[in-house]
């Protein structure tokens, strides 16, 4: 971690103190921003968004059924987990669109393969090596040096590809000495342009991160998304910063004792909710132009297993939040929870293809052309149409 006081005292110079101005002059740069939060491990959608009004819900969920009186009610059928208070408030002002019974085209139950499909946008695992968000960003006018930002050391698959993206993550390594970094930058500028570009980009990112004044980055972790979410907002707000950012949150693979209103899953949801709140606050007025997409690789079994947890399933919950989101309603073609309605007799049946939602966000928020969506971002998916009413106006 680079400390601000070091940086200001150091010789890194003003040039490194913000994202460099970059004008390619091709087309109008969008003022829309997108944050994708990938919940790795498989979020239990029926805990995050319980179908309290479905008559099968309580009997099927048994010990994992959330009482209507404790839930944050959305409509006659659906509610949010009691720890999703920010999301509930956003829903009430029409800025949250919960999506239920959704999935990619993948129906097996491997995290590994399911995340691959979620991020590549392909129909089957390991069919391609590029991510759909990278390809979508590549279809926009290149208005800044790095169109995307990964809040991780290496870009996750969703951001891999030809389009330039930057990376930043909290560090566990000791503080660096800024004087040494600036000497190295000078050396690279004289002899190694590729290293110079990378170090310059890292210095910029670390400056933004430090400027954010996040006091306790050491507290960042799977249960505390706030510090990284705040920094994501800082990057997205920078005049020449990225259009889209991606952050990961792990720890959703709740096979045992996941808990109901308390317990590991409830803590995870609370961390996600406060992370979203912190992100929105940090975005400030730019929130009106911002969309947050919260997705997971698959849902979990509809009924609890014998260990008070849930196993890998199919239909999942996802969330779209943002100042321009056409929310305050549920996006779901609810399949029901009767045994015959369940996928393979065990999982919530997926009825909404996540790719429709992804395409809708890219088309109507970032203004990616439908050709680019069907050809580059989600090849061989032209029969899966973008959901067109995700944003107001």
């Amino acid at each position: 971690m680079l400390h601000r006081r070091h940086l200001l005292a150091g010789a890194a110079g003003a040039a490194a103190l913000s994202f460099p101005v970059f004008a390619f002059g091709q087309g109008q740069a969008t003022d829309k921003r997108l944050l994708v939060i990938i919940l790795r491990g498989g979020l239990d959608g029926l805990s995050a968004m319980p179908a309290i009004g479905d008559p099968q819900y309580a009997p099927l969920r048994g010990r994992l059924a959330i009482e209507r009186s404790n839930a944050l009610v959305l409509d006659d059928t659906f509610a949010l987990h009691p720890n999703l208070q920010t999301m509930h408030a956003l829903y009430r002002v029409g800025e949250l669109l919960p999506v239920h019974a959704c999935a990619t085209g993948y129906r097996e139950r491997s995290h590994f393969d399911a995340q691959n499909v979620l991020e590549t946008g392909a129909a089957r695992p390991f069919a391609r090596t590029e991510g759909w968000l990278n390809k979508a960003l590549g279809a926009l006018p290149r208005s800044r040096p790095e169109m995307g930002m990964a809040l991780s050391a290496q870009a996750p698959l969703i951001l891999r590809g030809d389009t330039e993206v930057s990376t930043w993550s909290p560090s566990t390594l000791p503080d660096v000495d800024t004087d040494t970094m600036s000497r190295l930058l000078a050396l690279y500028q004289a002899s190694d342009p590729a290293l110079a570009a990378a170090l310059n980009s890292a210095l910029s990112a670390n400056t933004v991160a430090m400027d954010a004044g996040i006091s306790d980055m050491n507290a960042a972790g799977p249960r505390n998304l706030t510090p990284v979410a705040q920094i994501a907002a800082r990057f997205l707000k920078e005049p020449n910063g990225p259009i889209a950012a991606v952050m990961d949150a792990s720890g959703w693979d709740t096979h045992a004792n996941q808990g109901l209103e308390q317990g590991p899953l409830a803590r995870g949801l609370a961390g996600l909710d406060s992370g979203l709140d912190a992100f929105k606050t940090e975005m400030g007025p730019a929130w009106v132009n911002t969309a947050v997409l919260i997705v997971t690789e698959f849902g979990r079994t509809a009924a609890p297993n014998g260990a008070g947890g849930t196993d890998h399933g199919a239909g999942a919950a996802a969330f779209l939040a943002g100042g321009g989101v056409n929310g305050g309603r549920i996006l779901a073609d609810w399949p029901g929870l009767s045994r015959s309605a369940l996928h393979e007799g065990r999982d919530l049946r997926p009825t909404t293809d996540l790719r429709s939602v992804f395409k809708g966000v890219l088309a109507d928020h970032l203004r990616v052309s439908s050709t680019a969506l069907d050809r580059d971002a989600f090849p061989d998916s032209s029969e899966i149409l973008a959901t067109r009413d995700l944003f107001r106006g």
Partner: protein, 492 residues
């Protein structure tokens, strides 16, 4: 005439970076120094030899699986089985304690990663060790897939090491038969649709969740074709994937019995084979793969198919390209690829002859610093440059993880990327410079002259710009940090 420039290229491009004094020793005949290390290994490095046997990993793995089964709602079944085998409830209960396993796996993994890095730091045959890393990455088995968490180190030791510098066909066979690969790419979950196990499910073995596999799992077959032999453009079809998957149904590993899992009695392990052919799961009948029909029965069918894949022209081209990309350039020169490909074909997949051809290629000695070192290799270079033989505190696994390459944890079956684009990211460059600085601060001493260390490590590859930067440093620690961060330390 001694050639320090070629010596530096040899040490960095083919080895793992020199220790002080190495360059002068290599300079007499750099090519011969490389070539002397290309043959099969005489013995295991001592750091690797002391790791627990694969049988032990499989016991730990079996305990973990059983615990998962018990915690996933299948406890009653496990208890029934235990009762039949005369295992007490108390004995069984020991399997359900999660912390022990987490601790156990963490300790195992830490030890194995440390052994791999220390073997590389201390190696007197760094060229050979690099080849181990290359082939272990070619046949990736990774802890990134939780069920395979216990297995990558023993896979590398038992399936890869013995065949480095030997025949590719044997390495392919050893890989495809090792429990590490069989578990990592799901072949233990694959049964022939017309096999005995499919016709009579009670005869089939259980999968990790407690259910029984119901059909073909194509994962291993697909990756053998796509990643291990022909390459993605190697000219196979989905029908070939299914044929190979059918051919290798029944290739599984010997599961430890419940009695072994709850016991501390090591003798129970005796007689365990790692590989097992489960005839009941094997798809009967001939199969046609790449236009050739394999009529053999049982395991011979798979052995014949793999032998043919190992000598296929697409395999030669794919491996030659990958080797040249690894050693020479991200965009490998086609003349070198052609030469290596020819050597592979003419020697029927002899890996020593194949590497000889690569080392004899002029392109391999022409453009120094074309490749960006991956983080593990970079860390090893720095540790060897300072003449360390063990991992110093703070330069260990946590640092490798932070730099993006914790050994044995490649993200997917295609292994760690071998091109600069993947590693020359802003954050990863930042992390490696953080590592370089922390490490420099730890080892800096008044009597170590950073510029001399640079000359000893880089020879004529040490650029004038870098030397000046190092000499102008305000302290030995900063001088070392600048040396370790210099472009020519990060490239080869």
């Amino acid at each position: 005439m001694p050639d320090l420039r070629l010596a530096a290229i040899a040490a960095h491009r083919f080895g793992l970076g020199p220790r002080p004094g190495d360059l002068r020793a290599i300079a007499g005949d750099p090519r011969a120094w490389v070539k002397a290390q290309l043959g099969p290994p005489a013995q295991l490095p001592p750091q690797i030899a002391v790791l627990p046997p694969a049988e032990d990993d499989l016991l730990a793995f079996g305990r973990w699986l059983t615990r998962r089964r018990m915690n996933n709602g299948n406890g009653a079944r496990v208890e029934e089985r235990a009762e039949r085998q005369g295992i007490t409830r108390e004995q069984l209960q020991r399997l359900s304690v999660e912390e022990d396993f987490v601790e156990n796996f963490r300790a195992r993994a830490t030890r194995a990663v440390g052994a791999r890095v220390e073997a590389a730091i201390a190696s007197e045959r760094p060229v050979h060790e690099r080849l181990v890393h290359f082939w272990s990455n070619h046949f990736t088995v990774s802890t990134a897939k939780p069920v395979a968490i216990a297995l990558p180190p023993s896979f590398e030791r038992d399936a890869i090491r013995p065949h480095v510098g030997g025949r590719f066909a044997e390495m392919l066979l050893a890989s495809s038969k090792h429990p590490g690969m069989i578990v990592y790419l799901d072949n233990w979950l694959s049964i022939g649709p017309n096999s005995e196990a499919a016709q009579n499910p009670r005869r089939g073995r259980r999968s990790p969740g407690g259910g029984r596999p119901t059909g073909l799992n194509e994962n291993l077959a697909r990756e053998i074709l796509e990643l291990h032999t022909l390459g993605v453009n190697g000219g196979y079809t989905q029908a070939d994937v299914q044929a190979l998957a059918s051919i290798i149904t029944g290739w599984t590993y010997a599961r430890p019995r419940l009695r072994d899992l709850v016991s501390d009695d090591v003798a129970n392990r005796n007689g365990h084979q790692l590989f097992e052919f489960d005839a009941a799961a094997h798809e009967p009948g001939p199969q046609t793969l790449l236009g050739r029909t394999y009529a053999q029965t049982g395991i011979a069918q798979g052995e014949a198919a793999l032998a043919d894949l190992a000598r296929h022209p697409s395999t030669a081209r794919f491996l030659a390209t990958k080797l040249c990309r690894h050693y020479i350039a991200d965009e490998p020169p086609s003349a070198a690829v052609a030469r290596v490909e020819r050597a592979f074909m003419q020697s029927d997949g002899d890996l020593r002859a194949t590497m000889d051809a690569l080392v004899d290629s002029p392109e391999a000695w022409e453009t120094p610093l074309a490749k960006f070192k991956r983080p593990e290799e970079y860390a090893i270079t720095l540790l060897r440059a300072a003449n360390l033989r063990t991992l110093p505190p703070g330069a260990g696994i946590a640092a490798l993880t932070a730099m993006g390459q914790r050994p044995y944890s490649a993200p997917g079956p295609d292994g760690w990327s071998d091109i600069a684009e993947s590693w020359l990211t802003a954050d990863l460059v930042w992390k490696r410079l953080e590592f370089a600085q922390a490490y420099a601060a730890r080892i800096a001493r008044a009597d170590v002259n950073p510029a001399d260390l640079g000359t000893a490590c880089l020879g004529p590859l040490f650029s004038e710009e870098s030397r000046m930067a190092v000499m102008r440093a305000e302290s030995p620690a900063q001088g070392l940090a600048l040396l370790f961060g210099a472009p020519e330390m990060q490239r080869r």
